[in-house]
């Protein structure tokens, strides 16, 4: 008993001494692996493959973009475009010819040189008539790619494309070697600062620092492990137990309070490109009628939906991120008004509402908002029945076959207003006016004029109430306070580790 007490007393004085000497900082400790330059990164979703040319999943880019692969240009943490594999580029006055100068002497992880023929190979892989790339439409303006010499490549466009540079900076356009591309899905080989080590299906992907990277000296991490943990409760347990050092995109806003209470971790709320929408099948049933969609828009109580995200979200009134300079606040286009919603629904011939399906993908925001929306639309008589889908089912049933009434999903790509101009997209929105307008946006290379057009495009989509515009997802970044250099915002899906280090 005495020993017990004495030990307790020693422990207490010891702790008090440490506190006095080092203050609060001493409590925020780095894990033992920090000394070896190792870091464990938690992710909610696992990438199906590791080839971003051929797979659209955000998780593929999060792991590979700027870590394993590089693109001609890169997107910086603020969303700007800076040189990547290309040291620079020139654009012809008519906006139709882009000449890229590549960094000389770059090598892939397998030792092969990276030259302009690979650039041509990659851009053809994305834009050729028979290309199967999910981002093909992003590169549809490419007419031809010409190799001038080993480090010079010329891209000719069919029409001026104001998004072209941004699109070649995306993870979609990761430059791949002609020899390794075929196996990059399982054994990715790029030119980036990290080499793929191993993948444990259902568990983790491990990368190691590349000795041949041209700025290898600036890379401070030696080993990077991406660990896939889907369940929010398991995520927080892994974090608090020290098994994971960071969740760049923490998926459980309701648990943020508990992470904040732990002094080891910093919680940083940033912005994402994720417009979360009540995606509506415009080509089916009552939703074909503009008045029905307007009624739904009037029935949305965004305050409650944002509260459902524990406040880590911003209300949106159209398909455009609020932190963008060209954003227009359209949340009052159809203000929350149950009486008006009911009247519109009655005018459309549904005085008692109607029944419809709400097919939810397995993500936190959809689950949370789904339950809230069932209640909100229930108040104007629209009875939604929730069906839970796994991602492959969702992609097949909702996205490809368009067999759905409503779904909830966050569109995380930048500049994704263009989806409203696409033929056969899953919303079934077919507006000649918008298609013509968007073609003008793409052709307009003058930034000021383009901004005006983009603002008008936001309003067209909002007026047509194509989808229920809910909120912009917040990026809840959680990381060990000793870890520095993580991106606070998410201008594009990426967990860029090139600038990350332990203090």
């Amino acid at each position: 008993m005495t020993i017990f007490t004495r030990r307790g007393a020693i422990g207490l004085t010891g702790a008090a001494g440490v506190l006095a000497l080092f203050g609060e900082g001493a409590l925020a400790q780095a894990p033992a692996r920090a000394k070896d330059g190792a870091v464990v990164i938690g992710m909610s979703l696992e990438p199906p493959v590791l080839d971003p040319n051929l797979n659209a999943a955000a998780a593929v880019r999060e792991i590979t973009y700027l870590n394993i692969y590089e693109s001609l240009a890169r997107i910086d943490p603020r969303g700007g475009i800076i040189p990547g594999l290309a040291t620079g580029w020139t654009v012809s006055p008519d906006g139709l010819e882009y000449v890229f100068k590549l960094v000389p002497g770059v090598k892939y992880h397998d030792g092969e040189p990276c030259d302009s023929a690979d650039v041509k190979f990659t851009l053809d892989r994305l834009s050729a008539p028979d290309a199967t790339a999910p981002g093909k439409s992003l590169y549809a303006s490419i007419k031809s790619v010409e190799v001038i010499d080993a480090t010079t490549v010329k891209v000719t466009l069919k029409n001026p494309d104001s998004f072209f540079l941004y699109n070649v900076a995306l993870g979609d356009a990761s430059i791949m070697g002609r020899k390794s591309a075929a196996t990059n899905g399982t054994k990715p080989i790029g030119t980036g600062p990290f080499v793929f080590k191993e993948r444990k299906e259902g568990d983790s992907v491990t990368l190691a620092k590349s000795p041949t990277y041209r700025h290898a000296a600036s890379i401070r991490l030696n080993t990077v492990t991406f660990k896939f943990i889907r369940d929010p409760a398991a995520q927080i347990n892994a974090l608090l137990a020290g098994d994971v050092d960071t969740f760049p995109g923490f998926q459980a806003p309701e648990l943020v309070g508990r992470v904040r209470a732990d002094n080891r971790f910093a919680v940083v709320i940033g912005s994402t490109m994720g417009e979360t929408i009540l995606a509506t099948n415009n080509g089916r049933g009552p939703m074909k009628d503009l008045r029905v969609r307007q009624a739904i828009a009037h029935a949305l109580n965004r305050e409650d939906l944002v509260a459902g995200e524990s406040g880590f979200a911003l209300p949106i009134g159209s398909h455009f991120p609020p932190h963008d300079a060209d954003h227009v606040d359209l949340t009052k286009t159809y203000p929350f008004d149950i009486a008006k919603a009911k009247k519109l629904l009655a005018d459309a011939g549904h005085p008692n509402g109607f029944e419809a399906s709400l097919k939810l993908p397995p993500v936190g925001y959809a689950q949370r908002s789904g339950e809230i929306l069932v209640s909100q639309l229930g108040k104007i008589g629209i009875k939604l029945t929730i069906t839970q889908l796994q991602w492959p089912q969702w992609l097949a049933e909702v996205f490809k076959e368009r067999n759905y009434d409503f779904t909830i999903v966050a569109h995380t790509e930048a500049n994704d207003l263009d989806r409203y101009a696409r033929d056969g997209y899953y919303w079934g929105y077919d507006s000649k006016a918008f298609k013509d307008h968007w073609a003008a946006v793409v052709r307009e290379t003058d930034p000021a004029k383009r901004a005006v057009l983009i603002k008008a495009a936001q309003k067209m989509v909002a007026d047509d109430a194509v989808n229920g515009f809910l909120f912009q997802l917040g990026k809840i970044g959680v990381w060990n306070r000793q870890l520095v250099g993580m991106w606070e915002n998410s201008p594009t899906p990426s967990i860029d580790l090139s600038g990350v280090s332990w203090k």
Partner: protein, 280 residues
């Protein structure tokens, strides 16, 4: 009947079980006409309120009254239990009685098939069915019901086999009555007691299974209130609002306990061998 009630009055387990089950039933029925608050009125401004005089058990993470949701949740549990047991009984009893009457290869085939189904844990079977046919309360009920079929078949077969050996059944057969008539007139009425006991126990199993499936997201879909689903939602808030997990947990525990005690009590009271002892 009078003797039964007399004995029942002195059986503590039976009384406690019957009371608990009666309370749950009464709550479920009451909730169809009255709850303290609307059970599905979602108001984020009121989320996670502690228990007070307005919100007797507090509010959940969506600002809904917990007590009202538990009351309506009783409906879900009872409907699932009733239908799952009915499916199991209707098919299981028929198959069991058929096996006992026919014997031979029919008996052999049905029994082995029953073993096959029973060799898989009930919840695993239910997960299999709900993940193939989609998660919904209906599929959960079907899954649990299917698991109940061999359970009832086995119990019926056992009881019926004994009865087929008894003199009064043999006499009926000697008089030229067909197997169907004998089963209907003599076998089933005498097996009713055992089946009633089994039904009570399976009711409890069904409620637990539904709670388990809903907890895994494979049962009742929101916003249908289900105790299992409430537990799932509560686990995120265990630190901030432990009550959210305690109340539905308690509801499941007490209902299952009540049904099990009622089942045990019924078995004691209906067992003919114990009858003389208890009468004295």
């Amino acid at each position: 009947m009078k003797a039964f009630l007399g004995r029942a009055r002195r059986h503590v387990g039976f009384l406690v079980g019957a009371t608990l089950v009666a309370i749950v039933l009464a709550t479920a029925i009451l909730s169809t006409v009255w709850t303290p608050h609307p059970h599905d009125d979602l108001r984020m401004a009121l989320k996670l309120k502690p228990a007070d005089t307005t919100w007797w058990l507090g509010t959940d993470h969506r600002g809904r009254d917990v007590l009202s949701r538990i009351m309506v949740g009783a409906q879900t549990s009872i409907v699932v239990g009733l239908i799952a047991v009915s499916i199991g009984m209707a098919i299981g009893v028929a198959l069991g009685a058929w096996a006992a009457a026919r014997r031979g290869w029919v008996d052999e085939l049905l029994s082995r098939f029953g073993d096959l189904v029973l060799s898989m844990p009930a919840v695993l079977l239910a997960i299999l069915i709900t993940s193939v046919f989609g998660a919904s309360a209906t599929n959960a009920i079907l899954a649990i019901g299917i698991f109940n079929i061999p359970v009832f078949a086995r119990v019926t077969r056992g009881a019926a086999l004994t009865l087929w050996g008894r003199d009064f059944v043999r006499a009926a057969a000697a008089l030229g009555l067909g197997p169907l008539t004998i089963t209907w007139r003599h076998v089933l009425p005498n097996a009713a007691g055992v089946l009633l006991v089994q039904a009570t126990i399976q009711f409890a199993v069904a409620i637990l299974a539904e709670a388990g499936l809903s907890y895994l997201g494979l049962g009742a879909q929101p916003p249908v209130p289900s105790w299992g689903r409430m537990l799932y939602d509560a686990q995120t808030y265990l630190y901030d609002a432990p009550g959210l997990a305690i109340w539905p947990g308690l509801a499941i525990a007490l209902t299952v306990l009540g049904l099990n005690m009622l089942g045990d009590g019924l078995r004691d009271l209906l067992d003919p061998r114990l009858r003389p002892l208890r009468v004295g």
